[in-house]
Symmetry: C2
DNA sequence: GCTAAAATTTAGCCTGCTCTAAATTGGATT
DNA sequence: AATCCAATTTAGAGCAGGCTAAATTTTAGC
């Protein structure tokens, strides 16, 4: 197992996520996600490919994917990140829009011992505050279902599976309207020109209107059958 | 306030501690404490002196001390370190010999927000698990009294103030014999050649013999008057 | 006071990771 | 098929922080 720096861990996480969502991680997409220049990405991809064992498969000009060794590093880092986020919310009283940044730094320095103690304290949780699955000690990750709310049909009854955690302002807006993982919503309507969605959210008296940026940050699945009343 | 890297923070902590204990921080002592070569120390001292504002006062060949700006960085880092150590013990169930290493990494990445939330959760504590004072939010640090147990007179009744946290094996030995901060001991005797100390520790039936490495790691002050029985 | 040892600095180098500016290339458009 | 463009790579550089080897200065012993 090669030692990995914070930079390498962040690159591998980004390659893993992009490859999963878009098939492969291209230079430009990686540069955008990581906040570096494309030239820097090219250099790093060469180094990750040259690592022993290689951490990525890189075909110049056609992007990269992680190798099994690279995936392992990515999943270990994702596990630390998501456990830390939940820990910050549950133990230190953070709001869910504050945890991502902090976890982004801590994920590179907490030991395996600390990671497992946090997991134990939290009861070996399966999901982080945003609804993302937490790899278990063996790095097994539950399959993620769900599609963007932005693509939902009008009239559909849906349950929120997870929300993107990158934009704090979006998260605050989601908390405001009650769009947390588990929330049940019906798509009441959609406007043509500006892609606004009108939603009926269970437990809320008034319908809510959200814009496309917010709608793209919410991932949903068909709502399960009516849950029994309390 | 200049941005400071983990390296710079560790250098400033070391300079602060050495200057406090030994008057000034010399190149060789710093190199030993930080685990780098003397040449590396010289280079860093030059950079710290050139910082705007300067973080150290450095007279080539006669060592360095921190400036007010450097002391501030050192104390902020020490505050984070000691709060983290106590947090790891209290919240995550670490033993006191396990926390130093973990804190040494975490101290460079926890935000001010996280630091203050930890302090609040712990009740704004004044001492870490080893008895070292924790700078408060204004970075005020209680004066430390106490001298090494190794220098105690035979017959003296003493109270443990703090213990060095650098050597995990020494800490485990101290826990074994009950030499924690607050413990009250009487120096029962001392051997001439090998500097062993025989101690009567209040609450322990049998006297204990400790070697010089352990005796040097324990800091004591004259015991207060007899405490009333429970 | 002279000299040997110890401490310290200098010189030169290296790795990791980033950048800007200048090629290059693959694919789309006409 | 020629051309253009967007994506990508290459070339060259810089900074932080470390190292080794060689010089230099201080200190200490005599
Ligand atoms: Mn996150
Ligand atoms: Mn990160
Ligand atoms: Mn410590
Ligand atoms: Mn440190």
């Amino acid at each position: 197992m090669p030692e990995t720096s914070p930079s390498v861990q962040d690159y591998l996480k980004a390659i893993y996520h992009l490859a999963r969502r878009e098939g492969r991680a291209t230079t430009t997409r990686l540069a955008a996600v990581l906040g570096v220049t494309p030239a820097s990405v090219t250099g790093m991809l060469k180094r990750l490919m040259a690592e022993q064992p290689p951490l990525v498969v890189y075909h110049p000009r056609r992007g990269a994917t992680v190798t099994p060794a690279g995936e392992r590093v990515a999943l270990e880092t994702i596990r630390r990140h998501r456990l830390l986020e939940l820990f910050l919310v549950r133990v230190l009283g953070y709001r869910w829009d504050e945890v991502h940044e902090e976890a982004e730094r801590l994920e590179h320095v907490v030991s395996e011992q600390m990671t497992n103690r946090i997991a134990q304290l939290l009861g070996e949780p399966a999901f982080d505050p945003h609804g993302h699955p937490i790899p278990d000690r063996k790095l097994a990750l539950p399959a993620v279902q769900g599609f963007p709310l932005a693509q939902a049909e009008v009239g559909a009854r849906l349950q929120v599976v997870s929300v993107s955690d990158g934009d704090a302002a979006v998260l605050r807006r989601l908390a405001e309207v009650g769009l947390q993982p588990g929330a049940v919503v019906r798509v009441a309507g959609r406007t043509a020109g500006d892609h606004l969605l009108s939603l009926a959210i269970r437990g809320r008296a008034q319908p809510v209107v959200i814009g496309p940026a917010v709608a793209a940050a919410v991932f949903v699945a068909p709502a399960p059958e009516m849950t029994e009343p309390a």
